[in-house]
């Protein structure tokens, strides 16, 4: 038995040590690592009916990945332009949602983090309440607002700003508003946590030295809040790229989200390996993208989740 294992059992007792070790191994290996590897393996296999699995036809193939890039064999186009367009549109939209959230959340987080008083706690409750409501219901609420006869259209038509109902859903405005709405809290809290620990004297000092308010934020607050900002952005980006409920409910009929394609492969086409391949592509691209952006802004991985 290695030394650190022996130490571990000495410290926790054999029974407790085994329980802790067992649970941790089950979680890390059984629930996190093996399923991901299994999915990776699965994505390289052809779609076979259950009796043929493990048979001679069950060989590794790049078919599923080729499908995403080139489309069905003998198809009319050189590239699978439909799926690829959906993929890049999803990533781009997720970036836009992230930036939008950062812009609207930063002032709130700064205000909550730097001002004192009992009303701050009421604000915190008001922030958390929407987050406790079901994701589906939040999307549903926005659908009521953005619908053709919804509150916004009634309001603007009543004011005479436009005459015919504006289709928010077909124009994807409802979708972006819904995605932004869903993950606001995940952006505010990491930034708030960091800004709260910023000594107010630093801001005062900058002000005394004659810095205008925007320069105080640019040179003092934002560099200090960088870990919070990066973990908020990472979470919002990953979650909105992987969102399924909001696009299903708020998305227009013609605009798909990449997760919806994965969902279709699994539930409608019953092509699990193809769906797994798409999921892998989504996961790997998102991780690489996040790592690249973090490298660009010089943030450490260890700061995330703190």
């Amino acid at each position: 038995m290695p030394k650190f294992l022996k130490e571990f059992f000495n410290r926790n007792g054999t029974g407790m040590g085994l329980a802790i070790l067992g649970l941790v191994l089950f979680w890390t290996i059984g629930l996190i690592i093996l399923p991901q590897l299994s999915m990776l393996d699965f994505s390289f296999r052809p779609n076979l009916p259950p009796p043929e699995i493990g048979g001679p036809k069950d060989v590794y193939t790049l078919e599923n990945y080729k499908y995403l890039i080139y489309g069905p064999e003998g198809g009319s186009q050189d590239y699978n332009s439909v799926d690829l367009r959906v993929f890049f549109r999803t990533l781009l939209a997720a970036v836009c949602v992230t930036i939008f959230n950062l812009i609207i959340c930063y002032p709130i987080a700064y205000y909550l983090g730097q001002s004192k008083g009992s009303h701050i706690r009421i604000f915190a409750i008001m922030l958390i309440i929407p987050y406790w409501i079901n994701e589906i219901l939040r999307a549903f609420a926005l659908r009521i607002i953005f619908g053709e006869t919804g509150v916004l259209n009634t309001l603007f038509m009543g004011l005479g700003i436009w005459d015919t109902p504006f289709d928010f859903i077909r124009n994807d405005i409802a979708l972006y508003a819904g995605l932004g709405y869903a993950y606001i809290l995940l952006m505010i809290f990491p930034i708030y946590n960091v800004i709260e620990s910023l000594d107010h004297n630093q801001i005062e000092a900058a002000r005394d030295l004659g810095a205008p308010w925007w320069r105080i934020h640019w040179r003092v607050v934002i560099p200090y809040a960088k870990p919070g900002i990066s973990s908020g952005c990472t979470m919002v980006f990953m979650l909105s790229a992987g969102a399924l409920a909001a696009p299903q409910i708020l998305g227009g009929p013609s605009s798909l989200w990449f997760t919806q394609l994965i969902y279709q492969q699994f539930n409608d086409n019953n092509d699990w390996p193809q769906g797994a391949a798409y999921a892998i592509v989504l996961l790997v691209t998102c991780i690489l993208f996040v790592l690249a952006v973090m490298r660009l802004f010089k943030v450490n991985m260890g700061d995330i989740g703190k």
Binding site: T28, I108, I133
Partner: protein, 419 residues
């Protein structure tokens, strides 16, 4: 830019922000009380509680709630246990492994839920096949798969909550217990667990809420056991009704209630502690005069107001009968629809006449022009007999005559035929 302008703009911004955050929930809650069959706030028709009745008779929703509770309970147990084990491991793992280990157990938070659902499904399906079990074994059961899939990432949330408190734990306490002859299990149960209890409670609440509202992972794993969220999603995707708003209203009300309750309790504890601190020696020796329950506790006041409002609403609901109002609105709608049909017919008639007139003009320019009254664009409105016949037709018992007033019989089908 002076200071007062800055302050005003901050408040405006806060107001807009919270409007964006809370407005949708308020509007959704309000639509639960409108009798319109499509959830909407305007036009307001009648105050009704019908949608709540519909909700409680919906078997699929009730079944979904049951499944959600079962899965939630399983997820809470599994993820709090794994989270606690993970947190304990994090505090004593070999330093070289620590960063890797932390990355692994934090990763599920960032992995998209869809990917977690798929990987769980694929992995356990494969295990199931390797063990040679059938399609109806435990391992391919919807409840099992969903609990496993959700726990994968919910345990990470629990771990983060638990590790925050564990860092403040003094290991010397456990060592003292061991020195005094306790077994490891006893030391864990009697020393560490009581210390961790508040964090375990909040981790459990967090885990339950996360499980209850999860959609992305569950949608791949639920099998034969759709949870409430799955049922809701299917309802919302294929036609929406106000009974979903009714459910939303209940959830919003419960959330607000518990949030206020929790806040009031915390504030109360703070106030009591402050009173103890300021008390004089005699007061401490005797009985401390504690501040009254509502003094300086805004959350408690709000809580009471909220409870009273709920009781009033429920009270009204049992006594209130919107049948008359709904009948009126129905009648109004019927008339409106009729009007619209008439308008359409009139337009069509006009177009027809115009065309005819044009044809006539082009066809034989020398002949006499068509009757001017037909071209006027008002159809037969001004013919005296149409008014009379219109009145006669629409002498419905329920309709107030004012509805017919300005339009006369224009919209009556007979007025067109009467020429």
């Amino acid at each position: 830019m002076n200071l007062s302008f800055l302050r005003v703009s901050i408040w405006v911004y806060l107001a807009l922000f919270f409007l964006y955050l809370l407005g949708p929930l308020v509007i959704m809650s309000v639509t639960a009380f409108n009798s319109s069959a499509f959830p909407r706030m305007t036009p307001w028709e009648c105050l009704t509680f019908q949608w709540f009745g519909d909700l409680f008779q919906d078997q699929r929703i009730l079944n979904g709630i049951k499944n959600s509770l079962i899965i939630g309970a399983g997820t809470v147990v599994l993820s709090v246990a794994m989270g606690l084990a993970g947190a304990l491991m994090l505090t004593q793992i070999w330093p070289k492994l620590r960063a890797t280990y932390y990355t692994i157990i934090i990763a599920p938070i960032l992995i998209p839920g869809v990917v977690l659902g798929i990987s769980t499904l694929v992995f356990w399906d494969r295990i199931n096949r390797m063990l040679g079990l059938g399609a109806d074994s435990v391992l391919s059961n919807g409840v099992f798969l969903t609990v496993i899939g959700q726990s994968t990432f919910i345990a990470s949330y629990c771990m983060l909550v638990l590790v925050a408190r564990l860092q403040r734990y003094d290991m010397a306490l456990t060592e003292a217990a061991l020195d005094l002859g306790a077994t490891h299990a006893q030391a864990f149960r009697k020393i560490l667990l009581p210390f961790m209890r508040p964090a375990i409670a909040s981790a459990a609440v967090l885990a339950f809420l996360a499980s209850f509202e999860n959609y992305n992972t569950t949608t791949f794993t639920f099998g034969e056991y759709p949870t409430l969220t799955i049922e809701l999603a299917q309802k919302v995707r294929y036609g929406i009704t106000p009974s979903i708003s009714a459910l939303a209203f209940i959830i919003v009300a419960l959330t607000v209630f518990f949030a206020l309750l929790n806040e009031a309790k915390l504030k109360r504890q703070e106030l009591v502690a402050a009173a103890r601190k300021n008390a004089t020696v005699e007061e401490l020796a005797g009985k401390i005069k504690l501040p009254s329950f509502f003094a300086g506790n805004m959350a408690a006041v709000l809580l009471v107001v909220f409870a009273v409002a709920t009781i009033t609403v429920v009270g009204t609901a049992t006594a209130y009968n919107p049948a008359q109002c709904i009948a009126n609105v129905k009648e109004e709608k019927r008339l409106e629809a009729e009007q619209r049909i008439q308008e359409l017919r009139k337009q069509r008639e006009e177009q027809r006449k115009k065309r005819e007139a044009e044809e006539a003009e082009q066809g034989d320019a020398g002949q006499s022009a068509p009757k001017p009254s037909n071209n006027s664009g008002f159809g037969n409105v001004f013919a005296p007999n149409t008014l009379g016949s219109g009145e006669e037709e629409s002498q419905d018992t329920e309709t107030p005559p004012a509805n017919n007033g300005g339009f006369g019989g224009v919209f009556d089908p007979n007025s067109l035929k009467s020429e």
